[in-house]
């Protein structure tokens, strides 16, 4: 099942590779069909997971396991497995990956430059990201983690805008510097535990290794914190987002950042629980700074896309705050926030992209009264914005409240700072919407059309639906997330 999900986009990429260059329309449809199939599979995975969870037996450990020995070198002291499985933590992320990849294909419908190659990279990216969320072997995890770099580099540097090559390289260097430390830490962990199996490692966290455990912890965290990203290693994010094509921004904000938070919850906490507890105040401090600093920077942006990008830094701070509580509630909130931020910010980037497609500018001061010209885009943008600032009945609220509830006892100061971040969020979101969409209609924008393409409406509709659904009926997600977080919280709590 999981392998099928990984193979579908790859199959699409392979099929595109042999499609003639001129057949742009066919290339689009191939990409759409394969990403739809992948989304269908991810939906089936999620639904079956929920059915299993609500059955009498419940869920123990991982479901849908695909496993075989990959590099079998027991004599030399190590094994690498192909080991896929999902639990309550990863099932929503897999669903998110399926959904956002489909949306990314839809909103790339108007790409005209090297269409075939574009969709090949997009589909490879989907496989890589999904692989990260499903891998239960450290080396396999690392492999997918690195695999995602190449398509991202290509997508940003070829189909991007502005200083695209600079941004792509910056993204690459930041990520790879972080993952170098992660690989070393993985090697040490694997050697001391005699296994790279995440299940084994979490069951028996190594007590002693050849280097201090705290060093290992920060080695692993280096990669995840860069990816998340948090202050002070966030500087690649605004550049990458601003210069990436819309679909890539959506995936970057929607799922790639989540790899960081997911990695912390899946690997850093349960494998090194003692260290995670020791450093929880440091993490909370980083989180609080990220939230506030990110929000303040966001307020100052005049580029609409950069604004959304900086708001991501602020929102990812909440994830880290939830993690830093080391408690079940806070961590569940963090996991929820990852999903909801994925849909909300994904939608925001889509809207920014649609606006840019029409106005060909992202400078906020140049725009005014767009609501008169494009009421649908304006309305959806408003929904996404309200969700982003945490309006009740939309999904952002559920996640943020859960985080604050979990964090207030453990880190009161950081929580208060983070709540202040919500106030700032209300400021920058509403102010931006006001400047762009409200106000008198200007003649300059009199010729603009609303969102009329079927692909645009489909993409927007799907995202809005998921935001509202989770907002009104959060149990769809919370049950799954709680079942996934419970064992992790138990391990960390016992340490």
């Amino acid at each position: 099942m999981l392998t099928l999900f990984l193979l579908l986009p790859l199959g699409g990429a392979a099929m595109l590779a042999v499609t003639p260059n001129e057949r742009k329309e066919e290339a689009r449809w191939i990409a759409l069909v394969f990403s739809s199939l992948a989304f269908a599979v991810s939906a089936v995975i999620f639904v079956r997971f929920m059915l299993e969870l609500n059955s009498d037996a419940g869920v123990e450990g991982y479901l849908f396991i695909d496993r075989f020995a990959w590099i079998n070198a027991r004599d030399a002291g190590f094994d690498v497995q192909y080991f896929l499985g999902v639990d309550g933590l990863s099932a929503p992320m897999v669903l998110l990956t399926g959904l956002l990849s489909l949306v990314a294909v839809l909103i790339s419908w108007r790409i005209e430059l090297r269409v075939r190659e574009y969709f090949i990279w997009l589909l490879v990216l989907e496989t890589a990201v999904a692989g990260v969320f499903m891998s239960l072997d450290l080396i396999q995890f690392f492999l997918f983690w690195e695999l995602e770099l190449l398509p991202m580099y290509m997508l940003i540097s070829i189909w991007g805008s502005g200083r695209k090559e600079y941004s792509a390289m910056k993204f690459l260097l930041f990520t790879i510097a972080g993952s170098a430390f992660m690989l070393l830490a993985f090697l040490v962990l694997g050697l001391s535990a005699d296994s790279f199996d995440i299940e084994v490692l979490t069951a028996n966290p190594p007590a002693e290794t050849i280097v201090p455990l705290s060093l290992l912890f920060w080695g692993v965290m280096a990669a995840f914190l860069v990816k998340l990203p948090v202050f002070p290693v966030h500087t690649w994010l605004p550049d990458a987002h601003t210069d990436a094509p819309t679909a890539v921004s959506v995936l970057l904000a929607g799922v790639l950042l989540k790899m960081g938070g997911y990695g912390i919850l899946r690997i850093a906490l349960p494998v090194l629980p003692g260290e995670a507890r020791d450093f929880r105040y440091v993490l909370a401090a980083i989180a609080a700074v990220s939230v506030v600093y990110g929000a303040v920077l966001t307020l100052r942006q005049t580029d609409l896309k950069r604004l959304v990008a900086y708001s991501s830094v602020s929102h990812m701070g909440y994830v880290l705050l939830g993690v830093a509580t080391m408690g079940a509630v806070g961590m569940s909130g963090a996991a929820l926030q990852m999903f909801t931020h994925g849909t909300i910010t994904g939608l925001l980037f889509i809207m920014v992209g649609l606006v840019y497609d029409r106005t060909h500018t992202r400078e906020i001061p140049e725009m005014s009264g767009l609501m008169h010209r494009m009421p649908v885009i304006g309305a959806v943008m408003l929904i996404a914005g309200l969700a982003s600032l945490g309006l009740p009945a939309l999904s952002g609220f559920v996640a943020e409240v859960t985080i604050f509830l979990g964090a207030i006892a453990e880190h009161p100061a950081a929580t208060i700072a983070a709540v202040f971040g919500v106030v700032l969020a209300a400021g920058y979101i509403l102010w931006a919407v006001e400047r762009v969409f409200m106000g008198p209609p200007s003649d300059r924008w009199a010729h603009l059309d609303d969102a009329t393409g079927w692909w645009e409406r489909l993409a927007m509709g799907g995202m809005v639906l998921s935001i509202v659904a989770v907002g009104i009926f959060p149990r769809i997600l919370t049950d799954a997330v709680e079942s996934g977080i419970a064992p992790i919280a138990a391990i960390v709590g016992a340490a």
Partner: protein, 485 residues
């Protein structure tokens, strides 16, 4: 020499190679008289190579050590197969280039065949003088081969530089060997090991000097920093197929020899050389990868990249153990496949354009997307990206180093390998992001041989990257011959 009833059949692969070399020289002499076409020589070379490779496969698990002079065992067989594959690839992907740019094609193929014999015996040698003679057989063939390009004046310069510096290195090597002989009282590996394991305190400085000279001499052949100065010049000046061969067989053979010596006779004195090896490994990894950052010529870039790769391999010698020996063999095999894929692509590119500057690769993704894909896969594999051979083999190598107690060395290696990604990306960036030069935007195709060579090798890069199990098993069996604990 009590028993001269050796199993001479085990030497058949080398007989075939030498026989083919002689046949080629004869055929070349009477080319006009016999009316031979231009494809005959490479065809003979390829057939001879295939025959030799097939013959070596017939002797898996057969062992004879020829009175402790040359051991034919699984270790030697591993390298035999590897070297014949390299030779085959170089002949197949290079024959067009040779046709156009080489003055004496007969000598070219004959020298390649002979040098492969030298390389195989480097892997098989169990005695210092035999090892030395094998090295010289390889080196002398290559000294000549490097200067065979008729169109490029740099070729002769490169050849001269290579000869002069190579001669100095050989002298150091020989002196080092003589000092080791002086202290151990024998040139046979097994007896040296026996002599050293009884304690070495009385040898003092002589042994240390011997080790230093030995490592310096072999370091030159492997192009380890700081003995690497000849490498970029020789790579740049040599005809492209020879550059490929230098970066493949010549390196791998040196490591076959290094591993045999340092895992055998010199293992008892590991305390005296381990730190030297570690130092050189660090300098090579860091130096090679840093200097590569500033290269503008594809051959020089690949030269420094191969120096960086040598650094990783030296790491395995430093942390010598059962695990790191087999890891080294895996990495060498993966490196050969990857490097040859890259070089085949570069040769195909050169056949078409006659150019070799990095800027000439601009827009290749548009003019020949297939070749751009091959180069991208190869470069990313060299950088150690996942799903490609380089990732798996490097991973196994780093893992072996870390488990051997050299985590700091593995750390340096990971950082160096991270740096390397930057310059590989410079090539990829040009191919995909830049527009082709004006007037060169038309699509073009490779020759059939080019497609076969690059296609097979790229498939190999992916195969090893995705499923390295079989390669690992084979390497493990080969390394077991060394009988490290």
């Amino acid at each position: 020499m009590s028993d001269l009833n050796f199993d001479y059949a085990l030497l058949i692969p080398e007989f075939i190679l030498v026989g083919t070399a002689i046949l080629i020289i004869m055929a070349d002499l009477f080319r006009k008289e016999l009316g031979l076409g231009r494809l005959v020589l490479p065809a003979i070379a390829a057939l001879g190579t295939i025959a030799a490779g097939a013959a070596s496969l017939a002797y898996i698990d057969d062992v004879d050590d020829f009175a402790n002079v040359i051991a034919i065992d699984n270790y030697t067989t591993f390298f035999r197969v590897l070297f014949t594959v390299v030779l085959l690839v170089v002949v197949v992907s290079g024959y067009e280039y040779v046709e156009r740019n080489i003055r004496h094609t007969g000598e070219f193929y004959a020298l390649l065949l002979l040098s492969t014999v030298g390389a195989i015996y480097m892997a098989g040698a169990r005695e210092l003088l035999t090892a030395y003679i094998s090295i010289e057989l390889l080196s002398f063939s290559l000294y000549v081969a490097v200067s065979l390009a008729k169109t490029n004046p740099r070729s002769a310069e490169a050849g001269l530089k290579y000869v002069l510096l190579g001669g100095v290195a050989s002298a150091m090597l020989l002196y080092g060997m003589s000092l080791i002989y002086g202290t151990a009282g024998s040139t046979q590996y097994s007896e040296i090991a026996a002599a050293f394991s009884g304690g070495t305190s009385e040898y003092g400085f002589a042994l240390l000097l011997g080790l230093v000279l030995l490592i310096a001499g072999l370091g030159f052949k492997a192009s380890a920093v700081p003995f690497h100065m000849w490498t970029p010049d020789a790579y740049e000046g040599a005809p492209l197929p020879i550059t490929a061969y230098l970066s493949a067989t010549s390196k791998a053979a040196t490591f076959a020899l290094l591993l045999r010596i340092f895992a055998g006779p010199l293992l008892p004195v590991i305390d005296q050389w381990q730190w030297m090896m570690a130092t050189i490994a660090v300098m090579t990894m860091v130096g090679g990868n840093l200097i590569a950052l500033q290269q503008t010529n594809i051959k020089r870039l690949l030269a420094y990249s191969s120096i960086g790769q040598v650094g990783y391999m030296l790491m395995a010698i430093t942390t010598i153990s059962d695990a790191s020996a087999s890891a080294l063999l895996v990495h060498v095999a993966g490196y050969l496949i990857t490097n040859l894929a890259v070089f085949s692509a570069v040769i195909a590119f050169h056949n078409r354009t006659g150019k070799e500057e990095l800027d000439d690769f601009a827009g290749l993704a548009e003019t020949n997307p297939y070749l751009a894909m091959v180069l991208t896969a190869g470069m990313f594999s060299l950088a150690g990206m996942p799903l490609l051979a380089g990732f798996v083999t490097k991973f196994i190598l780093f893992q072996a180093a870390a488990s051997g107690g050299y985590l700091w060395l593995a750390t340096v290696a990971v950082i160096a390998s991270t740096i390397s990604l930057y310059y590989y990306l410079q090539v990829i960036r040009r191919m995909y992001l830049l527009e082709p030069a004006r007037g060169e935007s038309g699509r073009w195709r490779l020759s059939p041989a080019g497609y076969i060579a690059t296609g097979t090798l790229t498939a190999g890069v992916f195969l090893v990257g995705i499923y390295a199990g079989p390669l690992f098993t084979v390497a493990d069996r080969a390394a077991r011959v060394l009988a490290l604990s």
